[in-house]
């Protein structure tokens, strides 16, 4: 029997993470690709850090940062009434940080591809920088935006270390599919683990299929209408 509650938590987490990153990642990516600041690479490296950092290390720092001994953690508990670690919200925050490069890098790469002369033409037509972003840059970067959103969704779906460190293993709130598989194996329930693992494999494959199809523009060859 598959753990549908864990699957629901996982999809909710991955979906919200991708959504938040779509909002938060766009301005960061815009800044990364258009800023001419000399020390830009410092910020770029920070954004890319989750790519190389072991999830336990990242999870540890996030746990400390949102815990009751940090100013942020104290502020949050006073505001909301309960501490952030080992809650769905805490896990969501950790996932957003953990998946940040998976959204920002494809976004930024897509923005870099936009011909600067098109942007300049838009400006000379009296269209503000913000409107140019939505009227011109976003439509031209559609494939990169889809890629970023889908990759951060898929990456969050498979995370393990960060969930364990920050979320714990609370049924219905922070127990995700990958934790569930680990538990099943620990309990020597290989049949249950296999079902859930296969489910995750198929979903991941379908997601990547969608990303590659968008980027290769496989539908372009289809007759229109």
């Amino acid at each position: 029997m598959m753990n549908w509650i864990a699957i629901w938590v996982t999809f909710k987490l991955a979906g919200l993470t991708a959504l938040v990153l779509l909002v938060v990642g766009l301005p960061i990516a815009y800044w990364v690709s258009f800023s001419r600041w000399r020390w830009k690479f410092l910020i770029e490296s920070v954004v890319a850090l989750p790519l190389v950092l072991p999830p336990t290390v990242l999870g540890f720092y996030i746990l400390v940062a949102i815990g009751p001994h940090s100013p942020f953690g104290r502020f949050y508990s006073e505001l909301i009434g309960h501490p952030l670690p080992f809650t769905f919200e805490g896990l969501l925050l950790a996932s957003i940080l953990y998946s940040l490069p998976f959204a920002v890098q494809p976004f930024a790469a897509a923005f870099e591809q936009v011909d600067r002369r098109l942007i300049e033409a838009s400006w000379t037509l009296g269209v503000s920088k913000l409107s140019t972003f939505f009227k011109l840059i976003v439509p031209l970067s559609k494939a990169g935006l889809v890629t970023g959103a889908v990759l951060s969704f898929a990456h969050t779906m498979g995370e393990f270390g960060v969930v364990l460190m920050v979320g714990g293993n609370i049924e219905g709130s922070t127990r995700t599919v990958s934790i569930d598989i680990y538990d099943e194996v620990q309990a020597l329930n290989y049949a249950g683990a296999a079902k859930t693992a296969l489910f995750l494999l198929v979903v991941s494959y379908l997601v990547l299929l969608a990303v590659y199809a968008v980027n290769r523009n496989v539908w372009a060859a289809w007759p229109q209408k």
Binding site: A121, W123, T124, V127, S128, L136
Partner: protein, 364 residues
């Protein structure tokens, strides 16, 4: 009040000549200024500075009563607020928008009814009816150029900036669109600045011409003035064509045209789209000088005249001849010595028919 454009800018580059441009000229409704120079001379940078896409380190740009740039007092007007129409060299049409979408792009502040009306007007003016829903990549080069121009003109700009408007086209189309563009600019009655490295475009399109080389403005004047009376050898070198005179086509036979200039008849190879009123253009290096009573030669034009001046230019010399109209020849120093060329000497100038270039012009 005399309206004028006043540009005085300095922009430095790490690996190119510093641009120090000073251009000031009176502007009327349809004045066309040509920024003329070889590639890399900085003419595009000057145009982009006027558009607000490039920021000179120092200087001022004044358009009629508006200050667009004044580094001393910190005025830096954004391109959005200059009310210009700008057409870059490769047109930069928005690939995600249709032809109508491209034209409507800069009309965001109009109501949807006014916007549709304006798009319709512009579609008619630029003969783009029937292409409203086409995407830029489906258009020919000439159509793309018209859409780019239509898009720039649609928001009723105060000044039109065109960067090499014809260079992306193949030669026959270019010739055809050059005349079309001139008529359109006169019809729009909109001051324009056009960047080009093609002297025929400068001659046909321009009212005022600024010659630019290595970041400096060498001469500002009417095209015919600049071509026929270059201020110095640098200008003469950059423009490359030193004899430009008004002529009239009087007849044609066997693919050859007969053109009169001040009563002197010249033979030229028939050119496309050369109307009866033409500029007759001859490069100084295409003129061969002979002493009087010459033997038969293959050149179709033999003009008798007298030398007025001889100016040394390194191994070469520029010889001005009066042969009914002023003609400039470029000869070697040794030829000057051999012929004893000097003011007052009678000579015959031989010019091949193929070296007599005709560029159509508006009748007087």
């Amino acid at each position: 009040m005399a309206a004028e454009i006043d540009i005085n800018i300095v922009k430095t580059f790490p690996s190119r000549a510093t641009i120090r441009a000073r251009i000031r000229y009176p502007v009327e409704a349809s004045t066309v200024l040509i920024l003329f120079g070889p590639s890399g001379s900085g003419k595009t940078t000057i145009l982009r500075s006027i558009a607000g896409l490039e920021w000179p380190e120092e200087g001022t740009i004044q358009f009629v009563s508006r200050a667009w740039l004044d580094t001393a007092s910190g005025i830096r007007v954004a391109p959005q607020d200059r009310h210009i129409g700008y057409m870059p060299q490769d047109y930069a049409l928005f690939p995600t928008h249709t032809v109508a979408g491209n034209i409507a792009y800069g009309l965001g502040q109009l109501s949807s009814h006014d916007r549709r009306k304006r798009v319709d007007e512009v579609l008619d003016l630029f003969q783009l009816r029937g292409l409203e829903v086409a995407k830029p990549r489906e258009l020919s080069g000439g159509q793309q150029q018209r859409v780019a121009l239509a898009r720039a003109v649609a928001p009723r700009p105060l000044l039109l900036l065109l960067d090499e408007p014809l260079s992306a086209l193949d030669a026959p189309t270019r010739l055809h669109l050059r005349d079309e563009l001139r008529n359109l600019l006169k019809q729009l009655a909109l001051p324009s600045i056009i960047v080009t490295h093609d002297w025929t475009e400068a001659l046909t399109l321009g009212d005022v011409m600024a010659v630019i080389s290595a970041g400096n403005v060498l001469q500002v004047g009417t095209p015919i003035e600049v071509f026929s009376r270059p201020q110095n050898a640098d200008v003469a070198h950059v423009v490359g064509v030193e004899t430009v005179v008004k002529g009239r086509v009087v007849g044609s036979a066997n693919g050859m045209l007969r053109v009169t200039v001040n009563g002197i008849t010249l033979t030229a190879v028939e050119a496309e789209s050369a109307g009866p009123e033409v500029f007759v253009c001859i490069r100084a290096e295409d003129v061969v000088l002979e002493r009087g009573g010459t033997a038969a030669s293959s050149a179709r034009n033999h003009l008798s005249g007298t030398v007025t001046t001889v100016t040394a230019l390194g191994a070469l010399a520029r010889v001005k001849i009066d042969c009914g109209f002023p003609l400039v020849a470029l000869v070697t120093r040794s030829a000057v010595e051999e012929f004893g060329l000097g003011p007052g000497l009678p000579v015959v100038a031989a010019i091949k028919a193929g070296a007599v270039h005709l560029v159509s012009r508006q009748g007087d």
